[in-house]
Amino acid sequence: MDKVIVCENLSKHFGPFKAVDDISFEVKRGEIFGFLGANGAGKTTALKMLTGLIMPTSGRAEVAGFDVRQNPEAVKRRIGYMSQKFSLYEDLTVRENIRLFGGIYGLKRAVILEKTAALLSALELENAADQRVSALPLGWRQKLSFSVALLHEPQIVFLDEPTSGVDPLTRRRFWELIYATAEQGVTIMVTTHYMDEAEYCGRVSMMVDGRIAALDTPHLLKKQFDAADMDEVFRKIARPDDKQKTLKSGKK
């Protein structure tokens, strides 16, 4: 099986603080992998190492066939990244954003033109091509931002809370887009605070205090933690001490 992420004993320390503490896992081609954890559990630090933005303190990680320490630039060329907070330039038009990011990824002019036409037609955005991104409804902006992250045909795309603050319909349509992309063999690494979305992942890892406390399919995690849904799994893993208290104050 094709492994696109191999992470072995990866750690990142900031002084005495172990932000990421000896994590190991593998992600296969075309997998939708949920990367969950409480605030401050170390998700962001781990993702920064996997995307070649910061160097690990120890351990190794190979992403899209390249070592993040030795070849961070090669890694960056083979991955896409999208977050809710920063993705597109709002005062550039749709077309300008595609051209800008195409250029940044080093695509040739002819390729960018070709990709622009294909993308506008796939998203049915032909009529809005010369509108500023700020004028687009949130759902369109989000789809465009995802497509732009895929412009250079990366092997892996990292989605950092891609659906935060989005209405329930748009959120679901976005996940259908994720599914369709994964079916084409692109690997998806996604973080979310919506626990129903954790159910849509092939496998889910849960970070607690810099370590991976659990990793499995949503189905097996629910079994392992004797939980009705992923929300309960999350609560049981993130706050094992006051299990009773949080359970009592749960739904209804």
């Binding site: 605030n39 319909l169 748009t170 996940w175 626990m195 189905h219």
Partner: protein, 305 residues
Amino acid sequence: MLSISNISKSYGAIKALDDISFEVASGEIFGLIGPDGAGKTSMFRILATLLLPDQGAAKIAGLDVVRDYKALRHRIGYMPGRFSLYQDLSVAENLEFFAAVFGTSIEANYQLIAPIYDQLKPFKDRRAGALSGGMKQKLALCCALIHKPDLLLLDEPGTGVDPVSRKEFWDMLRDLRDGGLTILVSTPYMDEAALCDRVALLQNGRIMAMDTPEKITAAFSRPIFAARSADMYRLIQDLRAMPGVADCYAFGEFAHAVLDDRSLKSSDLLQYLQECGHTEVQVKNAEANIEDCFIELMKKETTHG
């Protein structure tokens, strides 16, 4: 406690709030539920006397948000969506500052914040900017409460906060409510609607529905079946293509199929899915949740306007 009548606010061509009216009773948790861009923050800024409405009026504890803004500011506790404490002051310094600004002291109202502040005490000398998301949220709540307001205005306190910290925060809100405080809170997390006494579902500056969460979900008009199989992506596509199924979306490990044809039974869906080649198929009756309702109302709004 709070009475809003026919409030509108536009920014250029964009109508952020379009003729909004609602009332909140004393001791109630009222939720404004809606996605980004629905108008939640504009509503809060008007109530916090930071933004003038184009039309309409709002009164809090009998005071008008425009005319009586000075007196009103002592009666409300406002927690904006973006973390707005002083990042380079410590936890204790932030709290002292907000107490001083309102002409009170931490000691005078300590009782009110004690259950929350006790959790922050171990970090009281830490800079606010260095706190985790959940801790920042708790400190911001303490600072909004320190002058003992009658009405708490919380604009998306849970955004970007993990589910466990959010649950803890809601427990605190319910304790404050039980102590007699009135709370207006907004959230884009629809499952949190169930934790409010009453909610308004907000989209594009308009209220689509307003009631107790139970009554909103009970008003859902069509039957829903929950279905799952080994291949959820294909299951959703297949169910959408099934005659009699109006709509189908993922809801956690199941997909909800909303029916136009009331005569369809779960066995019909089961048979259809098996014929489509699905394995590990399971179909059962389901109750609408707030997201089902939101989606249905959104679609109605689009067809009407």
